[in-house]
């Protein structure tokens, strides 16, 4: 919106975001696979984005920026869940998908978890989004601000390290 030749007002937040809402919601549904969680994260994303909107310089960067916020919230949620899962795993080894996949082998689960926690940020995020969030590489790439190839490589490297760590 141009007030004059020299001044450009940013588009109103609600108007600007409305164009990307469906994409964001779809992304959140895909990541969380849970209606309530997706709704929660959507609201959180929306409010955070509104609060930070004055810091966004150009409207052109809005879409990746929104995905960045949504991704960070998803990662926070995944991290909190992992922490909780860890507590649960100590007490009841067969709760959650972690222990289920390891057939109740308590030490193996713990080992795997600490190995994942030890991965570099980007690899861990890519791995979590791919294997636990079920995201496509394109979506991971958008979320992590990198190319799909780099996202794929991140998952591959992470798996390689995990394999090395658990086989020792």
């Amino acid at each position: 919106m141009a007030v004059s030749n020299s001044i450009e007002l940013p588009p109103p937040f609600e108007e600007a975001v409305a164009r990307h809402e469906r994409e964001i919601m779809r992304f959140l549904v895909r990541t969380t696979r849970d209606r309530e969680d997706a709704l929660d994260l959507f609201q959180e994303t929306w409010l955070r984005a509104y609060r930070a909107y004055p810091k966004l310089d150009s409207a052109a960067g809005l879409r990746p920026w929104l995905f960045r916020i949504a991704t960070n919230l998803c990662l926070n949620r995944a991290r909190g869940r992992m922490r909780r899962a860890r507590v649960f795993a100590d007490e009841q080894p067969d709760i959650g998908r972690w222990s289920a996949s390891a057939n109740g082998d308590h030490t193996a689960v713990l080992e795997l978890k600490s190995a994942i926690a030890g991965l570099p940020d980007k690899q861990r995020q890519a791995l979590v989004m791919r294997k636990f969030g079920g995201l496509e590489y394109a979506a991971i790439a958008a979320a992590l601000d990198c190319s799909p190839e780099s996202a794929r490589a991140g998952v591959y490297q992470a798996l390689k390290k995990l394999k090395a760590a658990t086989e020792r």
Partner: protein, 269 residues
Amino acid sequence: MKASHQPGVTEFADGEASAAAIDEMIGAAHARLVHDFAIVRRPPARVGVVESRLGPLLAAESPRGLLALSFLDHSDGGATVAAIRQLFDPVEDRAVAVRAGAEIDRLLDGDASAVTGRVVDFSLVPSPFRRRAFQRLRTVPAGAVVTYQALAAAIGAPSGQRAIGNTMATNPVAIYVPCHRVIRSDGSVGNYGGGVDRKLMLLRSEGFKVDRGNRVPAGAVYGHWLSRIFCRPDCSAVRRAERRQWIIFGDAEHARHAGMRACKLCRPA
């Protein structure tokens, strides 16, 4: 956030949802957002640009009052908008600028009431010192000036003339906060953010007849703020009274117009 320890057991187990389901969820999310959004929402600021007799002006108005007025040829309008954005949601409204332009036209034609009567919102001035300076400055009437030094003293900083100089340079609401009415102690008009020519034009149209050397004119009188008495510059009362009390009128007429009476010692015209 709801804690679900069993991911993947709800209706979106495959991570896909139909377009209708997404739309329904967006509606549901917005229904829940209404309350929270009302809390964090920034107030609107109406922003407009107008071509005035003083050149292109950017004006912005909040619900509380006039927020910004700047000369676009002497300032970065984008930076002004960016500053407004931090606290307000800017919306375009040219009428705001048109109204300001009309009020400034009346000022240039000798009627300052529209400008002085306007409520100013100092939201863009975070420093309390600067706010005090601007508020005090608004009480200096058209046709009068103060020195940087006197203004500093008036707000409790007797040696803060430099700080006042810096403050005036950041004035977000030009003209309405009359930073053109602040001059140097040596009697020269000093600088102006919108260019010295504009400062001279504003002062002259307000009735403060700056002389050829851009200095305080010969007929100027000193008005004492508290006692409402005005004197010749060489009056013994001027030497005795506190510096911060003096504002300078271009002539006796304007001092009388501001509700002051002539000194009985020096008897200014």
